[in-house]
Amino acid sequence: MSQQDNYRFQVNLGGMIDILSNHLYSSPKVYLRELLQNAVDAVTARREIEPSAEGSIKIDVTGAGGPATLTIQDNGIGLTEENIHEFLAVIGQSSKRSGDLLAQNTTFIGRFGIGLLSCFMVSDEIVVLTQSAKGGPSLEWRGKPDGTYSIRKLDTELTPGTRVFLRCKPGSEAYFEQEFLENSIYYYGAMLPYPITLQTEQGFKKINETLPIWIKHPDMARSHKAEVLAWGERLLGERFRDFIPLQTASGRTGGIAFILPQGVNLNAKRAHRVYLKHMLVSEKAENILPDWAFFVKCLIWSDELQLTASREHFYENEQLEEVRSELGESIRGELITMAELAPDRLQAIIGAHALSMKALAVEDDQFYRIIYRWLPFHSSAGQRELGELLREHKHLYYTLTLDEYRQITHVAAAQSLVVINGGYIYDSELMSRLPLVHGGVEVERLLPEDVSFTFTDLTGDERRYYYEATRSADAVLQDFRTQVQLKRFKPSELPALYTLSKESSDLRSLELTREAATDLFSSVLGNLSTGLQNAGYATLYLNLDNPVISRLFNSGQSAILPIAIKMLYVNALMMGHYPMNRQELAVLNNGIIQFIDWGLSSNHNNGGTTA
């Protein structure tokens, strides 16, 4: 009575399995995902024609003593003989198509055939018993990894649905163990809409929970805070304190963005867990949220995105871009609402994730306008929130780089200027745009040379008195394209301040590099530096309020002046973290020797007088 026909795959199945296991899937354990997928698809398909049908998926493992056999049973739509051929032919199709078969937007993410093939990674014999809900005989399908399969009509009629039997192949035992199954089924299927039960020693155990209402309506998550946080902890393995519900306008993608309790590195991989049509497809999806959103870890579910062949990442296409920007908008919108209604909550987030907030503010003026008050900046008045600084000061200064900040911060602070260190990422850009979002504030980039405008000029008498000494000091530094200015400024402990404009600073590094470059590049740099010569001189400000400077200029010892000025010059260079060229290094060396010599001879003289 039974009828048996033999068919052959049109591809080398061994090769195919090798491709699947070694190149496509990250691990053989995905066979379980594929089986679950097939079962879920089948149930979904049955409910489309019989909406009242209650889906159920059961898994158990038998075979004590011998090789284990895993059975997965669903009460879904089942397969007709035609279906079986069709599904398996898919594999042949895929090799003929230029597009990626798995990427095609189909009603069901799984394709029975491919899914079943993945089972060969862990099994050498697969048996499928199936009864289509649309009628026809019950069928048995047997497939082997050598590429043959057979179909047999059964005498008895089974209840509609499909049962798949996998016999564990040697070496794959780990994938059939109870604990592995329990964990993996939850891992992949926590969000599946039908109950999945696993037979354990204690009887059948339901693995997935009933889906809470906020999965379908993420905005309701706000009123189920404890439950949402519990799900987050269970699925993502971290304890969170706050979250933002995510939803796209179409309602086809939703999720929960859990706010990471502590700050993260800007370059850290942002691994979100994404479920496509209820099935886990990735726990390291990076491209689903905008780059700036690195302060959240998300659970996302969607039924509209397309997966790459491995089914672990999404195709970078317009649809993904749309979803990404809408999810970003959910986060941004929530932050904006917080600024208005729950500033404390926002402050807590900014406290831990200032960089993320700044990254977004740099891209988005409107967002910047809403949150700038709480952004922290490093300033000469300490680490402060911008709002505080703005309450106290109408005029803020910032530097472009850390180097510039270091050079002038002490001097600026002594003149009570508030200078913000723009050397940190995003900060100078945000400062330059501050007037666009906050009216009435003057923000100015401060160059090292600018601090001098607060210095006190010498009086006319002093000027005459120090004229000669200043002139000789100035002459000493001509070779270094530096002029000397004698001023009074705070702090008085600072004897000298070296300042130069961005152009002179570029010039310095050009000239310095010429010493190391090839002849050709040296002359190229020479031409560039000629163009910068107009940038003018650097300035060495000497502080007459400083006791040493004062003594130097009043000592009347013209012999010591040139070398002292040069030493002050190189000292100021070192204080400002400027690299020195050969000539300057020579000054330093000679100067030290000279001063030691003077020191020794004066000691010697002293010694002589007391002896």
Binding site: L402, R433, D506, T513, T518, S522, P579
Partner: protein
């Protein structure tokens, strides 16, 4: 107080590309210089070259590269030549953007690269390619086309740019030649997404906006503008391209264009690339001139320290707004730069270009 090389480099790896990272690398290079550690200093500088090249600091890249090449010639066994030779292309890509570097020197640099490539077994293809790139940059479109032909007749080698970058040059060439149809044709595989890389289609899209607009494909132009601007808006290296978006928007949505202008203007002020500055000022002045003719007075918001506000009454004061005078100030600066380029290049290409806007 000072951080060690390792500490600095650790911080570097945590930072996204940009000025903050480059500054840290410079500090690391200085630290290595102080210890006379050529290998560390070379490593830091090679990262500077790459970071500076792709984030809008071509001068810093040139300086660091000059140092590297000098050290390499003195200590050939210490360093790998492949990366060095590869980055030579980045230097030559931007060298004509500095009007102070005379043509003879640019040609010497091209020859130097050619010889070094030859010495390591690479063909002249890349030399032809970058000769063409430089000629185009110098407004010598026809000659650039001849070198492109030579380049296209040769087989790729390990020094060749990626296909997307090469295709993009064909787009730039057609655009410079003023052939709208050819520009779009050349851009087709890029716009379709068949050729992409780190900077393509970013730099390509701004080249097709005006051709699309002139050929009446307004919807496509608008779509590409939105898509393209997103790709370039946060990187200083794309100042020229940002300005091309501004110019296009002056035709279709001038107030949107003004938003872009205000956003990017502060970056232009301190920008290291004189060519990009010129383009930005020229394209922006075209937009502002148009806005100054609006019936409502337009107030342009520039930072108060802006040199272009000198002698111009307060922003948004009553009456006619400040768009007109700022446009004039921009244009004047753009023309000064254009004349410097034209004098070096021996033509009047950029003055003509600016006057045609």
């Amino acid at each position: 107080m000072s951080k060690s090389y390792e500490e600095l480099m650790d911080e570097v790896y945590d930072l996204p590309d940009g000025l903050a990272k480059i500054n840290l690398l410079e500090e690391a290079a200085r630290e290595a210089d102080l210890r006379n550690d050529i290998v560390d200093a070379y490593e830091a500088r090679s990262m500077i070259v790459e970071n500076a090249t792709f984030n809008g600091y071509p001068m810093k890249a040139l300086v660091a590269f000059s140092w590297m090449l000098g050290q390499y010639d003195k200590n050939r066994d210490l360093f790998d030549e492949y990366n060095l030779l590869w980055s030579y292309k980045w230097i030559l890509d931007k060298i004509s953007c500095f009007p102070d570097i005379p043509l003879t020197q640019i040609n010497e640099l091209l020859e130097d690269m050619r010889n070094r490539y030859k010495e390591h077994g690479y063909s002249d293809r890349t030399y032809y390619f970058y000769t063409s790139v430089n000629l185009l940059q110098q407004g010598k479109v026809e000659e650039a086309g001849e070198f492109l032909k030579k380049f296209r007749s040769m087989d790729e080698d390990m020094m060749s740019d990626c296909t997307a970058c090469e295709q993009n040059r064909l787009v730039e060439y057609a655009a410079a030649a003023g052939d709208d149809e050819a520009t779009l044709e050349a851009a087709k595989p890029i716009l379709k997404g068949k050729m992409t890389c780190g900077e393509v289609p970013h730099v390509t899209i701004s080249k097709v906006l005006m051709p699309l607009y002139r050929l009446g494909q307004l919807e496509e132009a608008e779509k590409q503008q939105k898509k393209g601007y997103k790709l370039i808006k946060n990187n200083l290296d794309f100042l020229q391209h940002q300005s091309e978006h501004i110019y296009y928007l002056s035709k279709t949505d001038p107030f949107k264009g003004l938003e872009l202008l205000e956003r990017h203007y502060p970056n232009m002020l301190g920008h290291e690339n004189p060519f990009d500055k010129m383009m930005f000022l020229a394209h922006s002045s075209a937009l502002l001139e148009l806005l100054s003719g609006e019936s409502v007075a337009v107030a342009v918001r520039l930072p108060e320290s802006s040199p272009h506000l000198n002698g111009i009454e307060g922003q948004g004061s009553e009456g006619k707004g400040n768009a007109g005078p700022i446009a004039a100030a921009f244009r004047e600066d753009a023309l000064v730069l254009a004349d410097r380029f034209d004098r070096r290049n021996g033509n009047t290409f950029y003055r003509n270009y600016i006057q045609s806007l």
